[in-house]
C-alpha cells in the first residue's frame, strides 16, 4: 500500500507545487528509495512515476555508485590467456539504466545526449592516467560492452509510458548483481529536442538482514570474523563426527 500512499502524496504535490513561469514543471516519485539485498534477492523492479505539464518526451537515467574501476584485458601468452594491460577509469558508474518514451535519437540530438550522458555509450569515462588515449578508448568500449552483457548497463533503453500527454511511468530494473551504494535517478522532460526540465532523486541499494550483518562484519571486524569462521567450522566438524559416529 506504499505505492497508493505515494500516489496520494504525488497528487497533493501536483495540487500545491507552484509552477515556475518558464521551465516546465516535472513531478516525480519512486515506489521506494531503497533496495534491500536479502538472502533471497534475485533482482528487483522499482516503479518510477510522475507528471509533465506539457507535451513532450521523458527520459529516465539511473546511475550509481561512482567508483574508480580498473579494466584489464587478457592477452595470449605462451598459449594461455592472461590479464596483461590495465587501464583505470575515474568515477565509473557500477550501474547505468536508461528508459525513454521514444528512441533516444528521435528525442534529442546526439550532442545533447552526449552532454547529458544519456545512454551507456555516452558515459564520460576518463582514464586516471590520460597519457594513453588510444588505449583508453578501446578499454572504455570493452568495459561498456562487458557491463551490458552483465545487465549492469542498458543497451536498448527501457520503456517510459506516457498517458494522455501528462502522466508517465517506467519500470526500473535492478539485476541480482546490482552493486551496493548510492544511486541517482535523473528524469528529463524533453520538448522539441531540448531538456526543458530535470528532476533528480536519490536512491540506495544496500544489503540487509543477515547478508548485511555478515558482509559488514567481514569488512569492519575482519579479525573477529576470521576467528568466528574458524570456530563455526571446528564446531560443525566436531558435531558431524559425533552425530554420525553413533549412527
Amino acid at each position: 500500500m506504499k505505492i497508493v500512499k505515494r500516489l496520494l502524496s504525488l497528487g497533493l504535490l501536483l495540487a500545491f507545487v507552484p509552477t515556475p513561469a518558464l521551465a516546465s514543471s516535472l513531478v516525480v516519485d519512486l515506489s521506494s528509495n531503497q533496495i534491500e539485498i536479502t538472502t533471497n534477492f534475485t533482482g528487483t523492479n522499482l516503479l518510477l512515476f510522475g507528471a509533465i505539464d506539457r507535451k513532450g518526451d521523458v527520459v529516465v537515467v539511473v546511475r550509481g555508485p561512482l567508483r574508480p574501476e580498473v579494466v584489464r584485458r587478457k592477452e595470449r601468452v605462451a598459449g594461455i590467456w592472461i590479464n596483461r594491460v590495465a587501464v583505470t577509469f575515474e568515477a565509473v558508474p557500477g550501474y547505468n539504466f536508461v528508459a525513454s518514451s521514444r528512441p533516444l535519437d528521435q528525442i534529442a540530438s546526439e550532442e545533447t545526449l552526449r552532454r547529458l550522458q544519456i545512454g551507456s555509450e555516452r558515459l564520460h569515462l576518463q582514464p586516471v592516467d590520460p597519457a594513453n588515449k588510444a588505449l583508453a578508448s578501446t578499454f572504455r568500449k570493452g568495459l561498456i560492452d562487458l557491463k551490458k552483457r552483465k545487465a549492469l548497463y542498458s543497451g536498448k533503453p527501457g520503456k517510459v509510458l506516457i498517458r494522455s500527454e501528462k502522466l508517465f511511468r517506467a519500470d526500473l530494473k535492478f539485476p541480482s548483481n546490482v552493486p551496493t551504494g548510492s544511486y541517482t535517478a535523473e528524469i528529463y522532460h524533453f520538448s522539441d529536442g531540448k531538456a526543458v526540465s530535470v528532476s533528480r532523486t536519490k536512491l540506495s541499494v544496500q544489503k540487509a538482514g543477515v547478508e548485511a550483518a555478515i558482509y559488514n562484519y567481514a569488512h569492519d571486524h575482519s579479525a573477529i570474523y576470521g576467528i568466528v569462521a574458524i570456530l563455526i567450522a571446528l564446531f560443525a566438524g566436531w558435531l558431524g563426527g559425533v552425530v554420525f559416529r553413533k549412527a
Binding site: R73, I80, I214, Y215, A223, Y225, I227, A236
Partner: protein, 307 residues
C-alpha cells in the same frame, strides 16, 4: 531455490551447492581425502570468484579435517610430534602464501595463478593415481608376486642436521625435512584453498618414510591448524571467506562423507583409486582448457580502492 551469498556477492542455486558438496563429500569419505582440491575448481566453474572460492574452501576444509582427525585420534593414529613440526612449517608457509595471494590479487594475476596451480597439481596427482591404478590392475591380472621394498631407503636427506626422534612414526630424521614439507604445502594451501593432503600424504610416505597407519591422521591434524590460519589471514587481508557458503558446503559434505565411507568399504580400492584419478584428471583438464580456449570476454573489471 536461490540464495544470495554476501561475500561471493551472487545468488547460487542451493540444490546445486548441496549436490556439489554432497558429491565431493561422498568422494572424500570413499578415499579419505579432504576434497578441497575438487571443491575449489568446482566452485570456480559455477561462477564463484576464484579468490572467494579459495578463502571459503579453506574454511570448509577446517570442518572436514576436524571430524576426520578426531576419528584417527581416537584410534591413536596421530603422531603429534611430527604433526607439530609440520604445522610450524605450515604456519609459516601459509602466512607467506596469503601474502603472495594478496599481492597477486592487487596485480590482477590471482585467478590465473590459482588455475595454473590446479592444472599442475591435479594433473600430476591424477596422472599418478591413474598410473598406479592401472599398474595394480595389471599386477592382479598377471598375479606376479609384489616385490618387497625396505621400509625406507637412506639417502642424503638423512644426513641433514637437527635430527629428532619421532617415536610414533618410528623415525629418527632431521626436523628440517617435515618443516620444509610443511612450508611447501602451507603455501599451496593458501593459494589453492586446499588442505594439501593429496601432496602431504605421499610426501610423508615417500620422503619421510612414515608408516602408513599414522600418515592420514597426522596429515589431518596439521591441516586443521594450517587451514584455520589461512581462513584467518584471508579474512583479515582479503575478506574473501564466505561463512554462509562454507556452512552450506560443510553440511552437505559431512553428510556425503558418511555415505562415501559406507560405499568405500564395499568396493575394490584399486579400481576406485583409478576412478578418482580419472575424475581428478578431468577436473584438471577442464581448468587447463579454460586457460587455453579464447575467452568470451577479453575484458574484466574490478572496483579499486576498496569499499
Amino acid at each position: 531455490m536461490d540464495l544470495y551469498f554476501p561475500i561471493a556477492e551472487m545468488s547460487i542455486n542451493v540444490l546445486l551447492l548441496l549436490a556439489l558438496g554432497g558429491g565431493v563429500g561422498i568422494l572424500s569419505g570413499m578415499f579419505g581425502v579432504g576434497g578441497g582440491f575438487l571443491m575449489t575448481p568446482l566452485l570456480i566453474f559455477i561462477g564463484v570468484p576464484p579468490a572467494v572460492a579459495v578463502g571459503t574452501e579453506a574454511n570448509q576444509v577446517v570442518a572436514a579435517s576436524v571430524s576426520g582427525a578426531l576419528a584417527h585420534w581416537r584410534r591413536g593414529n596421530v603422531d603429534f610430534k611430527m604433526g607439530f613440526i609440520l604445522l610450524i612449517g605450515g604456519f609459516f608457509g601459509s602466512t607467506f602464501g596469503v601474502w603472495i595471494f594478496t599481492k597477486l590479487r592487487a596485480l590482477g594475476y590471482i585467478d590465473i595463478v590459482i588455475s595454473l596451480c590446479f592444472v599442475t597439481f591435479l594433473g600430476i596427482v591424477g596422472g599418478l593415481m591413474v598410473a598406479e591404478g592401472a599398474r595394480s590392475w595389471l599386477r592382479s591380472r598377471s598375479s606376479k608376486p609384489v616385490s618387497t621394498k625396505k621400509l625406507h631407503q637412506h639417502t642424503w636427506l638423512h644426513g641433514l642436521p637437527f635430527k629428532m626422534r619421532f617415536r610414533r612414526s618410528k623415525l629418527y630424521i632431521s626436523a628440517l625435512l617435515p618443516l620444509s614439507i610443511g612450508v611447501f604445502v602451507g603455501i599451496l594451501s593458501a593459494i589453492m584453498g586446499v588442505g594439501g593432503g593429496f601432496i602431504m600424504v605421499p610426501a610423508m610416505i615417500y620422503l619421510l618414510g612414515m608408516p602408513t597407519s599414522v600418515v592420514v591422521g597426522t596429515s589431518l591434524f596439521q591441516i586443521i591448524f594450517v587451514t584455520a590460519n589461512v581462513t584467518f589471514l584471508q579474512s583479515v587481508n582479503n575478506q574473501t571467506v564466505d561463512v554462509l557458503l562454507a556452512l552450506v558446503l560443510v553440511i552437505s559434505s559431512v553428510i556425503g562423507a558418511q555415505f562415501g565411507t559406507a560405499f568405500g568399504s564395499k568396493l575394490k580400492s584399486e579400481q576406485l583409486r583409478a576412478l578418482l584419478g580419472i575424475l581428478v584428471l578431468a577436473v584438471g583438464c577442464k581448468v587447463g582448457f579454460d586457460l587455453i580456449v579464447t575467452p568470451a570476454h577479453l575484458f574484466s573489471f574490478a572496483v579499486t580502492g576498496g569499499h
